[in-house]
């Protein structure tokens, strides 16, 4: 049972209200998609869900325990986050990066145990980075860096994984690979996505944010609809059930109004 639940999350920075009374629940083994236009508060929400920021109001509860009650180490063994993009200033190899994921399980001078090695190997294999293990970070493409980060998070052996637009720099095959991987692994995943069609295809449930609040939540086929796309993104679209996958699939017709308005 690994359910991540947030209730009444409110987060203000200066005079700007980033998140307003956001509640959601990600059930065991589910993939929960967080959707919404730029600036809707997706990244902030993910950081709060991962315990990296403390909300001004509201709580995040993991399996009935508030995140704030867990020690840092316990939390790191339970929950991993893959952030959008990273600047790395040292020339680490892929394998060193992934091994970093074992930090919460190791003492400062413990050598890697067999559990650690297994977790690292599994993560390298699962992300297709095993063949790249000796390459240094600076030589990786954006997509490879993203997969290495995902491998690092998987090596934490988390029960919940939080991902901020993990498909950003990836070509289509790896987008599908990663989302399929998340479905296969027994982890609970919370994932911010831009691509509504990917969300419709791979998420068990979606939450749509708009101006820091929850605009809609539920199963993709109930939520991803033409009126919602118009309201939230300002785009006229046709949403059909794909004859091949059965997933709701949007075809964008035109911007309903200028984005600058």
């Amino acid at each position: 049972m690994s359910t991540l639940a947030a209730s009444g999350i409110t987060w203000t920075r200066g005079s700007e209200r980033i998140l307003v009374d956001v509640s959601l629940e990600a059930h065991t083994g589910d993939v929960l998609g967080i959707l919404g236009p730029n600036g809707a508060g997706k990244t902030s929400l993910l950081r709060i869900l991962a315990g990296l920021r403390r909300p001004d109001r509201g709580t995040v509860v993991l399996d009935g325990t508030p995140l704030s009650a867990l020690s840092r180490r316990q939390r790191a063994r339970t929950l991993a986050i893959v952030e959008q993009s990273l600047e790395v200033h040292e020339d680490v190899t892929v394998e060193e990066t992934v091994t970093l994921g074992r930090t919460p399980y190791r003492g400062t001078f413990d050598p890697l145990g067999s559990n650690d090695r297994e977790a690292v190997e599994h993560a390298l294999e699962a992300t297709g980075m095993a063949a790249h293990r000796t390459r240094s970070w600076r030589t990786l493409s954006g997509g490879e860096q993203q997969r290495a980060q995902l491998a690092r998070a998987l090596a934490q052996s988390p029960r919940v994984i939080v991902l901020d637009e993990p498909t950003n720099h990836l070509d289509i095959r790896y987008q599908l690979d990663i989302l399929e991987l998340l479905r296969e692994e027994s982890m609970t995943a919370v994932i911010a996505l831009h691509d509504l069609n990917l969300a419709g295809r791979f998420c068990d449930r979606v939450v749509v944010l708009r101006q820091g609040g929850v605009y809609a939540a539920g199963r993709p086929r109930e939520v991803i609809t033409a009126p919602l796309i118009d309201d939230v993104y300002g785009v006229t679209a046709v949403v059909e059930s794909s004859p091949h996958t059965g997933a709701p699939t949007a075809t964008y017709i035109a911007a309903a109004r200028s984005a600058r308005e």
Partner: protein, 374 residues
Amino acid sequence: MTDIASIPGERTHPAQERRLEHPAPARSPRGSARRLRAGIAIAVFAVGLVLSVLTAAFIGTASIGMIDVYGILVRHLGLGLLAPEAQAPPLVDALIWESRLPRVLLAGAVGGGLAVSGAVLQSITRNPLAEPYLLGVSSGASTGAVAVMILGLGSGAVSLSTGAFAGAIVAFGVVLLLIGGGRVSNPARVVLTGVLVSQFFSAVTSLVLMLDGDADSTRGFTYWLLGSLGGARWEPVLIAGSVILLCALICLLFAPALDAFAFGWDTAASLGIKVARARVSLMVLTALMTAAAVAASGAIGFIGLLVPHIVRLLAGPGHRILLPLSALGGAIFLIWVDAFARSAFSPHEIPVGVVTALLGAPAFALVLRKAAAR
């Protein structure tokens, strides 16, 4: 009976083909090679340090044989029984025991401390050009030490170190405030901030010296400010040595945090690292090491840049190895640079900081180029 039975065996799945293109190496060759090299490097460096101390102690203006040095060490360490015949003339004995040996050990302590500080600073500022001297931390420590001396708050090694520590912390705080902490900052910005802070504290130091107005002490201080290990005595050696050794060992406990910082504060926090606590602790530890070094020998530059970068090329970026190797490497490096500085133009002695700057400036240019190319 039919052809169908044979078909599955013939079939090659596209996914399998893909995997065959990139057969995964059985065990990480580079990772284990790095570990092996690191182990060998630590052993070699440790032996090298011991040999350096013994050898460098008999290099100098007066030539003294290796056997004499050995005999003197043995006698003073209370091991006379091992070499009852070894008996150097008292003057030679005093030269080695009271002057050369403390100087060599101080060089080792200062070199090791500055190299470890550099490695730690590069991680906690997330910038490859960070180093106590270049960031202006050494300059702040100098100001603190000079202020303590001139204002007559005490002249012992302890009060000097305390003043240097206060100065180092203030300078460090100003630097972090100006760099702005979080992201990987533009290397040029870090360099400029360092120049700014260093110039400011140099100016304050000069001002304090001018106000004091004594030409003799001003000249003495100026020489000291350039970085010199001359006049090393046991008391400052023991204070600097123990402070630096203790701080370096505590830094080593933060190795996982230092590794994780390469990926930013949030990722480090998500790996279970107490980021704020680790950064503040490491900042205080580097300020302490820098202050102890500066109080004992003035501001010696570039060691914190040169040594960790060379060690990274040798053993990779992992701090569990990087820190001990930097400590040993920095110690060996400064022992030999000082041996050169005091003997190359004998009887004249060059301040050791001049030599490290001559070596360090080109290295700085290289690292800057590499960092800017990213």
